[in-house]
Amino acid sequence: MLFPSPHEGNSPARIVITGAGIISAFGQGWKVNAAGFRSGRVAIRPVTLFDVSRQRVKVAAEVDLPATVPPGLLPSREMARTERAARLLLLAAHEAWEQSGWQTGASFPIVLGTTSAGMSLGEAMYRQAVAPPGSRRGQPTRVRHYQAQRQAWELAGAFGSSGPITIIANACASGANAIGHAWDLLRHHRAERVLAGGYEALSQLVFSGFDSLQALSPTQCRPFDKDRDGLALGEGAAVMTLETLASARRRGAEILGEIVGYGAATDAHHLTQPHPEGTAALAAMNAACESARLSPDRIDYINAHGTGTPLNDSAEAAAISRWAGSRAANLPVSSTKSGVGHLLGAAGAVEAVVCLMALREQWLPPTSTLRQPEPLCSFPIVREPTDARLEYALSNSFGFGGANATLILRRWS
């Protein structure tokens, strides 16, 4: 039963990460991504997936999608029909799955975040629908496979799960909301294991949308820079296998890290612009700290939403400054969107994995494109590859529509 839940617990469970998979413009897998984030590499390059000749901006952080996916994930016929976003999701999930040691056939909830699912198939469906003489060839497949629930079902099928699927589409906070919701489910004993993450593939509709809003940087994405002029879009996926500490210990699983806090809030100021003071961002950070029973002075690093747009970064800077108080003066902050772009619905999940990497390997990922820091930043921005002692990392994700989410991760030692 989903309600009333048969799994009532007296006290909240501790939630650990036993697998993490990632694919971004840096490449596929933990190792190549950790190297890219640690060094502050920039993987933004000319778009090749669709025609950008009439766009104001012509670059994004495209993924070099492997020609093949791990055999046996899906029947070859089904795999042939999958869209780019679904493949990104499957690749990230496969890495997390392999790392976790979970066995196929167990039933567990799947919680995913995305903003546009298989949009390129939706675009193809439209183009076919308006093309004379109106052939329907291939249309049923496009309709089926562009929908987010189909991609989630493919994931469930690949790993043999029949558990409930939840797809959160909270714009650019979707990935963080997905992991946060999974954390909620586990914490309140609604499940012992949850597969959670976010995925996003570049599409012409979304690229054109951000370009039409003049939100894309015509120069270089420089989060928290005084002269920042926009974001760069990216694509990719990140997936985590999350489980209760009791479950992980019972299996003897290797624990990679712990999620200790989650907060969410809504900014009602404007559909596409944050409140200048970052009030909802502040509320989300406070809620995450409250759930983690931590004060800001315990946080060792913030992976900021830091899109590189003038409005986001100033609002987030204001929020962090108010939230951190005197701690801000020596609280390292960076945005990794300078390297792999803004992954929209996948961003929160990818950046949670970046925090996990930083906690496990004890380094700070730099915002290497920064030149002159925004004066509103009362905190130091990490600009160079830096080793550090980290216990807690906080990750912010804010989206269109005022969706704000914050996750707090802890090093496992």
């Binding site: 039963m1 009439r54 183009r127 003049q214 809504t266 009602a268």
Partner: protein, 360 residues
């Protein structure tokens, strides 16, 4: 375990704006007339049922966030405000922490199609006014802005069963005291692109649009006290054979959960609100799952057509309205989605004496 009560419902449907219009349609039990819609190069017209213009322009449309929105946002807000009723000012004042769960399958497809057409033809002139409204969670954001709430707000995407799944999530939020009340809204809008996609799988179905909303709290709004008592597992499927099994499993689990030992037991005091449309092929799985039901039954989609998540919301709203106004003691709602899940829920009429007084 926390008890969860339905404090209000709302509906915008082809029957009209408001639950009374839906109630009147169900009382008449006559399918609404459909209209033919055509577009150039489409070989045959498609029949649809659209939401009529409201009798008077809703006041909320003067809000600056709602002036340029697509129909789906207007339907969602209309249904949500009706469900929330007199509690809306308490949200704005901060006295009531409201959660919002907004559920869609097709979502803001009208503006998405329009924007993509512009972007495809010439991205240099694509409208920045249209693009933000293409985002799945735009209507939920508008609703939050209108109500003045900054609480947790999720947009969930999936097939019709997502609305019932969202009820379980709302119950969790209430049970863990994350919110004091929770709005669940299911909405869809008509567009020729959705109609064409729909016709690829269901030539005889009639597509419709609108929204339904439910407002849940930990205290009843007043007599009669309508309580959410059970939601089954979400039974996944991706093939037609698995869909039949999923529908049956949802039905059997609801029976087990509500202490009904025999599947064919007459249940004159329990209403079934199913998702049958009167279409043999589409209905088959749900029809078989509930074929032994001998109690009273209503099928709103026979009268209104297919509107995915909005239709599931109408089912819940219709069941609750019947439960509140007629002699039933309970209502079962069966939702068998088109490509994700089968799920079922039960609502009961509870004795107010058994409900402890307390804050909402």
């Amino acid at each position: 375990m926390s008890r969860i009560f339905v404090r209000g419902v709302g509906a915008v449907s082809p029957a009209g704006w408001g639950v009374p219009a839906l109630r009147e349609l169900l009382a008449k039990n006559q399918p609404l007339p459909s209209v033919e819609q055509t577009r150039p190069d489409w070989p045959r017209p498609i029949r649809v049922r659209s939401v009529p213009a409201p009798p008077a322009r809703p006041g909320f449309l003067s809000h600056n966030r709602l002036r340029r929105t697509s129909p789906i946002a207007q339907y969602a807000v209309g249904a949500a405000l009706e469900a929330l009723g007199g509690d809306a000012p308490r949200v704005a004042s901060g006295a009531l922490r409201l959660g919002i769960l907004y559920c869609v399958m097709s979502g803001c497809v009208n503006y998405s199609r329009r924007f993509y057409r512009e972007a495809w033809q010439d991205p240099a002139t694509a409208s920045p006014l249209v693009f933000p409204e293409t985002v799945f969670n735009a209507p939920a954001s508008h609703l939050a802005a209108l109500l003045g709430t900054t609480g947790i707000n999720y947009t969930l995407v999936g097939d019709a069963g997502t609305f019932v799944q969202a009820m379980a999530l709302a119950a969790d939020w209430l049970g863990t005291r994350r919110v004091d009340g929770c709005l669940i809204v299911g909405a869809e809008e008509l567009d020729w692109l959705v109609r064409e996609a729909f016709c690829l799988f269901d030539r005889d179905g009639i597509l419709s649009e609108g929204a339904g909303a439910m407002y849940l709290g930990s205290q009843p709004a007043g007599p009669p006290a309508l309580e959410l008592t059970a939601i089954t597992e979400s039974y996944l499927f991706a093939t037609s054979a698995a869909r039949a099994e999923a529908a049956l499993r949802a039905r059997l689990e609801l029976h087990d959960a509500t202490d009904r030992p025999r599947a064919d037991l007459p249940e004159p005091e329990v209403l079934l609100c199913d998702g049958l449309q009167g279409l043999r092929r589409i209905d088959a799985d749900e029809y078989v799952a509930w074929q032994h039901w001998s109690g009273p039954r209503i099928s709103p989609k026979r009268l209104l057509g297919e509107a995915f998540v909005a239709a599931a919301a109408w089912q819940c709203v219709a069941a609750l309205d019947e439960l509140a106004r007629n002699g039933y003691q309970a209502a079962n709602v069966s939702v068998v989605g088109c490509n994700q899940q089968a799920i079922a829920a039960r609502f009961t009429k509870s004795n107010l004496d058994s409900v402890a007084a307390g804050p909402t």
